[in-house]
């Protein structure tokens, strides 16, 4: 399954990169979500996969018995998901705000900071 997921992550990365190079800001945002998903999965897969054994200590024991899932990447991914949400929300609101000020979502026309005539 690690290998299958590696292929899947490759597809996610390719799709997100393609979307992020688009002209429209919404496509960029879709790409951003796919990219954070790909990153989360990458961390998860790099910690190896263990089916059907969550990282829980059974009642009455000091440590889990046998092979349980790797808890460390899970903890990393969990916070990464929440932070990723914060990043996405900020980017989305920035797009809304930019559209309100500039009247366009085409990044080629968003040149307030670096106007064409000065370049």
């Amino acid at each position: 399954m690690e290998q299958l997921l590696s292929v899947l992550i490759g597809v996610l990365v390719a799709a997100s990169v393609y979307l992020m190079m688009g002209r429209n800001l919404l496509r960029f945002l879709f790409g951003l979500i796919l990219l954070s998903n790909a990153a989360n999965l990458t961390i998860f897969v790099a910690g190896r996969l263990t089916p059907g054994a969550p990282a829980l200590v059974p009642e009455g024991l000091d440590a889990p018995v046998g092979d349980v899932a790797n808890a460390l990447p899970q903890a990393l991914v969990l916070t990464a998901i929440v932070i990723g949400f914060g990043l996405f929300a900020f980017a989305l609101i920035l797009a809304v705000r930019a559209y309100r000020s500039l009247g366009t979502l085409n990044t080629d026309d968003m040149r307030v900071a670096e106007p064409k005539d000065q370049v």
């Binding site: 969550p54 829980l56 969990l78 916070t79 929440v82 949400f85 914060g86 929300a89 609101i93 809304v96």
Partner: protein, 139 residues
């Protein structure tokens, strides 16, 4: 949206989700759950309420400004980390109190860890809601 069924359902559902989120928060140390998940569940409840009844009612139901909730949460989490100094430990070292402890049973555990997780819960709830409300309220 002015669906009576949705509004009635949303009211009930907020209560249920709040209780559920508290349950997820408190059991988080020993079973799947915790501050992040609890906060997100509670936030989802209010988001649905806001979609059904409008953000004005949702804010009223929440009673506190979500930004304040998040700020208080951040302060609570920070305090939970700082109090470790009183016991001479490094910052963010967990401090435990077991009520009714016996040889075989740890009794009711209270800890700065739980306080910290409550802080996380409040920050996630407050931050998500202030984002969603702000977006819903812009023309």
């Amino acid at each position: 949206m002015n669906s009576v069924i949705l509004i009635a359902g949303a009211r009930l559902q907020v209560v249920l989700l709040l209780v559920f989120s508290a349950y997820m928060l408190l059991r988080g140390h020993n079973a799947p759950g915790g501050g992040f998940i609890g906060g997100l569940i509670a936030a989802t409840g209010f988001v649905v309420y806001a979609i059904a009844c409008g953000t004005k009612d949702a804010r009223a139901a929440l009673r506190f400004d979500p930004a304040n909730i998040a700020a208080v949460g951040l302060g609570v989490a920070l305090l939970a980390g700082i109090v470790a100094i009183l016991w001479g430990d490094a910052l963010f070292t967990g401090q435990w109190l077991f009520i009714g402890e016996t040889e075989t049973d740890k009794g009711l555990p209270l800890s700065t860890i739980l306080v910290f997780d409550i802080g996380v819960y409040l920050v996630v709830l407050g931050a998500v809601l202030s984002i969603v409300f702000a977006l819903e309220e812009t023309s």
